[in-house]
């Protein structure tokens, strides 16, 4: 985190155990004020658990949580100035939309009339004013989602927690809501902590992303950081698509490593800090950073085309390298890219853009 910014939520050595099972293993991270922060990871990695610990629905087994400097991990949920957008919305079925949105304000001691006015404003923000008198069951999924958002925003929380709020929506609506959410976050300046297992969603929306797996923090950084400089094999594999090749590290010098493929071919590449010489490691290369060609240019790998797949904007070519490993190359469906379409069985050379390959440990 940059110096000088306020820390909104500070999680220090938080541990969560359910009986024998450890759901979170000593997580520490700081979330900045006004940040759109995303917790990203595969199913079961502990994202919801961490979010629920911040909201107060789960006790912390060990560690502390600070909210703008105040220790909150022992406070009950109704005393924490954070609000949640629940995955299945959890709208109160017997209340109208307006009553739902005004509920938090009423509980904070505002009069019914005040709560109503503010709730009406919030409904305007999410463009649902005309539905104020309806019951939740009379709205579509996307509309309910926006009501849940309005309800959580109405009491002006310091931090908004969102647990996969878009996962129940269809693709088109989800894209629209991503933009709307991001817009609302900028407009209100509220810190968002957003949970998703959809890496594309995380990359498009977040200021920073925490990648988690099996209850551990794998990497913390900006979307670009995480995509272009994954710290380990898990992150490279989970975020976007990548080719992973087994290599032996020969030399390492100033962040640049010299490594040897199983076919004996040598390559130089960027290395993460933790790589040691003479060890086995993985070479991660994004498919879009590879170029197919007919000529054996210097650092190119010889390969045989297995299949060519047309995917609209892109053309994906699957190839087999010498000694067996498989590799995927993606080129754009443009005049230039189309010159490099190969028939199955043809021989081709796979060249790398400079800095495309990155050496990772497990």
């Amino acid at each position: 985190m940059a110096n000088g910014t306020t820390v909104a939520v500070d999680i220090r050595n938080a541990v969560k155990r359910y009986g024998e099972f450890t759901a979170l293993k000593t997580i520490s991270l700081g979330i900045a004020d006004n940040e759109f922060f995303t917790l990203l990871g595969p199913s079961g990695c502990g994202k919801t658990t961490l979010l629920r610990m911040i909201a107060g629905f789960e006790d912390v087994t060990a560690g502390e949580i600070f909210l703008y400097g105040e220790e909150i991990e022992t406070l009950p949920p109704h005393k924490r100035p954070v609000n949640t957008v629940f995955q299945n919305y959890a709208l109160f079925p017997h209340m109208t939309i307006l009553e739902n949105v005004g509920f938090g304000l009423e509980m904070l001691g505002q009069s019914k009339a005040q709560a109503r006015t503010r709730a009406g404003e919030m409904l305007e923000l999410v463009q649902l004013s005309q539905f104020a008198a309806r019951k939740p069951a009379q709205l579509s999924g996307g509309q309910q989602q926006r009501v849940a958002l309005a309800r959580a925003l109405a009491p002006s929380p310091k931090v908004l927690l969102l647990d996969e709020p878009l996962s129940a929506l269809d693709l088109k609506l989800r894209k629209a809501m991503q933009i709307e959410l991001k817009h609302i976050q900028r407009e209100t300046g509220i810190t968002f902590i957003f949970v998703t297992h959809d890496q594309e969603e995380a990359l498009t929306m977040s200021d920073r992303i925490a990648v988690m797996s099996a209850g551990e923090l794998q990497q913390l950084g900006s979307p670009r950081d995480i995509y272009e400089r994954p710290r380990n094999r898990f992150v490279a594999d989970f975020i976007g698509e990548t080719n992973l090749l087994d290599v032996t590290v020969d030399r390492i010098d100033g962040g640049i490593a010299e490594c040897v493929l199983d076919s004996g071919q040598r390559l130089s590449c960027e290395a993460a800090d933790s790589v040691a010489p003479d060890s086995r490691a993985h070479l991660s290369i994004r498919p879009e950073r590879l170029v197919l060609g007919h000529d054996p240019a210097a650092p190119a790998l010889k390969a045989q085309v297995r299949e060519t797949i047309f995917v609209g904007t892109d053309i994906t070519t699957l190839l087999t390298l010498e000694n067996g490993p498989e590799i995927t190359v993606r080129s754009s469906n443009s005049a230039r890219g189309n010159k490099r379409v190969f028939a199955p069985g043809a021989h081709a050379f796979v060249a790398m853009e400079p800095g495309a390959a990155r050496l990772l440990v497990d």
């Binding site: 107060g56 109704h78 629940f86 959890a90 017997h94 509980m107 019951k135 009379q138 959580a152 009491p155």
Partner: protein, 308 residues
């Protein structure tokens, strides 16, 4: 709900409707034989003339209702003045049954909530435990209760043994004993429907309420209670209605002073002393009261459901 789309009429829905009618036939038959017929019989009997050794003479008469509501002096030839004896019995019964319902709710709701929030395995165990007394006949249970509550019974022995009282507490033949008998008889009818409603309740709603700054109490009042209200109404009806007509508990535990409708009606059909038309008339009046209660609660339910 949503208007707009025309109802899918036509052949398919017609065959569906007729199939449904056929499938419902057995239920209709059962209702006819066991509900409509007895009520009709009761209605007819209430307008017949009594025979002195029980039974009826087939001759139309409003005498039974007249006896219930009118006091016509010693020789029965004065103009009608309101007869309070039976109305008072009814009033006392309604009061007893109402009190039993309210107190059953106060005990039953926390019990049901407790059970519904246990883990799945223990939940089944608790429900099972609640129903255990029901394996024993109601009469036997009520008689055992009488022995428990007696002046020289185990309850008083215990109280005296603990030094809480010197002389045995007089519980038997009081209102309290009747109330205890009614809870013992009908509490599960309160617990089970509420349990079913709480079990279906989505507890994420409680989390959402707490997240929106609602205290535990506010969450209960504003979110949980409205959600489980159908279960509460069902439980109240299931306790109130049989309590109103109960005769075992008042007879065996309440003594002569705590006479209730159920006992009054029962007596009319017992042995030679009875008066069948009068019993039938009292039953019809009770039935009307119960139907009124159901009607009121049904319109209440509909109103709270509103536009949904």
């Amino acid at each position: 709900m949503a208007g707009g789309a025309p109802a899918p009429g036509g052949v398919a829905s017609q065959t569906f409707a007729s199939a449904r009618n056929w499938l419902l036939m057995p239920s209709w038959a059962v209702l006819l034989v066991f509900v409509a017929a007895p009520v009709a019989m009761m209605l007819v009997y209430s307008f017949l003339t009594k025979e002195f050794r029980g039974g009826v003479i087939w001759e139309f008469s409003t005498g039974a209702y007249d006896q219930f509501f009118c006091n016509r002096g010693l020789f029965g030839d004065e103009p009608c003045q309101i007869e309070w004896t039976y109305i008072n019995i009814f009033w006392r019964s309604i009061w007893q049954a109402g009190l039993a319902t309210v107190l059953s709710l106060l005990i039953g709701f926390p019990t049901a909530y407790f059970i519904a929030t246990r883990s799945e395995k223990t939940r089944a165990l608790w429900v099972f435990a609640i129903t255990i007394p029901y394996w024993v006949n109601l009469l036997i249970r009520t008689v055992s209760m009488k022995f428990l509550l007696r002046d020289q019974g185990p309850l008083n022995d215990l109280l005296i043994g603990l030094g809480l009282t010197e002389d045995p507490l007089r519980i038997i033949n009081t209102n309290l004993a009747v109330q205890l008998g009614l809870y013992y008889s009908y509490l599960p009818f309160m617990v089970l429907p509420i349990y079913a409603a709480v079990e279906r309740y989505n507890f994420t709603l409680s989390e959402a309420a707490a997240d929106l700054y609602a205290t535990k109490w506010a969450t209960l009042r504003r979110i949980v209670l409205p959600a489980v209200k159908p279960g509460i109404v069902a439980g109240c009806i299931l306790v109130f209605v049989p309590s109103l007509g109960a005769f075992l508990a008042p007879d065996l535990l309440g003594g002569a002073r705590n006479f209730m409708i159920g006992s009054l009606i029962e007596e009319q059909f017992k042995g030679n002393a009875g008066n069948w038309p009068f019993g039938a008339a009292a039953s019809m009046i009770l039935l009307t009261l119960v139907l009124l209660v159901l009607l009121v609660s049904a319109t209440q339910q509909r109103r709270t459901k509103g536009a949904v």
